[in-house]
Amino acid sequence: MKTDIKLAGVGGQGILSIATVLGEAATAAGLYLKQAEVHGMSQRGGDVQSDLRLSTEPIFSDLIPQGGADLILSMEPMEALRYLPYLAEGGAVVTSSKPFVNIPDYPAETELLSELDALPKVVRMDIEAVAKGLLAPRSANMVLLGMAAPHIGILSPEDLRQAIRTVFARKGEKVVEDNLKAFDAGHEGIQ
């Protein structure tokens, strides 16, 4: 069994924290894992992505082949679309619905969202609004992870909650609680 996830967003949105939580959960569950990250120049307001591969069998390539991603998990709707060639047959797109506009030629929002909604399996939500509503504005990425939980077949929601506890423990109890709250809001919000 395997789950290949393409994580996407804009530099600074916190996709590496999502990867860290998934990595922790996978390690605790004894799964094989490969996670290719982008470091360096591309972090600064540019598009960022990370390939996360989880499997019960050894994994070869660090990169997900085209048509191989079971899930595109994106902090930003246009960034979700950027990786469509990687989405597998029957794969899901879980994304924030709120555009992050820091370029002059950003596409029209209605057309962007209708292209997104035309895909077979799409879950989208304004994760920033949800996180703000919870008074945990820095935890929008965990709202997104909560939304994605049903599509990460190889790990259970409880595996992910436990990983959130472990990863954020060093930042204090308040941060752990905020992130769990955000995760639950995302998870419940789609049901």
């Binding site: 990595g23 894992l33 490969k34 470091h39 120049m41 591309s42 600064r44 085209q66 370029i103």
Partner: protein, 531 residues
Amino acid sequence: MKRLLLGDEAIALGALYAGLSGVYAYPGTPSTEITEFIQNDPLARERGVRSRWCTNEKTAMEAALGMSYAGKRALVCMKHVGMNVCADAFVNAAITGVKGGLVVVAADDPSMHSSQNEQDSRFYGKFALIPILEPSDQQECFDMMADAFRLSEAVRLPVLVRIVTRLAHSRAGVAVGEPAVENALVPDNERTRWVLLPGNAKRQYAALVDKQPELLLRAQDSRWNALEDAGSPLGVIACGIACNYVREALPDEVSVLKVSQYPLPESLVRELAASCEEILVVEDGQPFAEEQVRGLLDPEYPVHGRLDGHLPRTGELTPDSVAEALGQPAGQVHLPARNLAPRPPQLCQGCGHRDVYAALNAVLKGFPEARVFGDIGCYTLGALPPYRAIDTCVDMGASITMAKGAADAGVHPAVAVIGDSTFTHSGMTSLLDAVNDKAAITVILSDNLTTAMTGGQDSAGTHKFEAICLALGVEREHLHVVVPLPKNMEEITRIIREELEYKGVSVIIPQRECMQTLARKNRQISRLRSK
């Protein structure tokens, strides 16, 4: 339990567990995390493993050679273009040879994710006539380091470890053993090896050439090179990380020679060729092995790879390009999206470099003949909209010397924009040339008190730039320190305008801390307060 490590981190831990005494490096993507890991590792701290950043790759290489001379194990890490900077020391270290194990890690960046070229460091290893190791995954990154140090001491040569971005910056679980002790301090006494006067150097070079058959035999017997004969008509030679893409596409249906130690294991290549009808060479970077394979086999023997278009000639390998070269159908299901725009990286909001470019652009509106020579760092992003402020960016330190050359040719105004860390890395000698020649250039030394682009490492000249410029001969009245903030725009533009008119070297130092390092410090402070 396995530890989840980046390839870079696995190399760092592997080196520490091999009894490392010092790491020497200048930050450079994708190699930076090797040194950072050692700087933060508890065992390294307990042992006092020397790990402070160096001024550039050449000082790093020389210091490591000195540590090796003293009998201890030393590591040098850099991005591929750093090999150009340290090449003098690197090549000559193969002539002197080593005492304590000396391992050089070069992190190549095919596809130029954050680089100016995609040179393949394996050519440097061959050029210097030393062994090269090329791990294929994170576990090998860890395991090979102990071997690399042992090999270095056994053959008394530096060993080059070559990785690529996708391995450096990819995480996987790594099983680790027990740390070895460090070597004892036993400085070498063989002056005839270490004093490279022509008489000694000739003898040493001849000895190095004589060692080559042994290096080849070691590569042919290496546990890192393996031939898996599947009886297929196609044979694949897969180097380092390329192996994973081959196995991803065709798990066990094709004969594969995995190459992770060089010199290229010729006997294994011939064996593969004899059992197959054609060979595909899959390697990340330049066609290093492919050219050699073509030279080894009969000219009629079909050899495919990057040279004949089976694989793209440029750019990193992907599972898709390798699958295609192996004749697999394309996996793509969905076409690229229609509503898509590129999103290039940008200077951070509030960054001092922004104010520098705003001021420079404002002044240069009145000088249509002006040229601005840029350099390597975050501020290279000043080439992109909205600033479009620089005309060149070539290599570390080139801003000042190219501005000088252009000014020599008659370009005026000629402006150089260089960051603080790049200046100490390779700009100081450029400035000395300019001062000695009284070149009519204006240097903007944009100082954000850190090596920002690679993530905020210490910068070698912080708080010393005025003193350095004065000592190099810049005149006091043409050296200015300003604070790049919108409220100071009038002062900054006035100074730039005045200095552009001066027919000699001026240096303007806009000085303000990087927003990222400042934010990080503030977070640390508030975390400490809340505890």
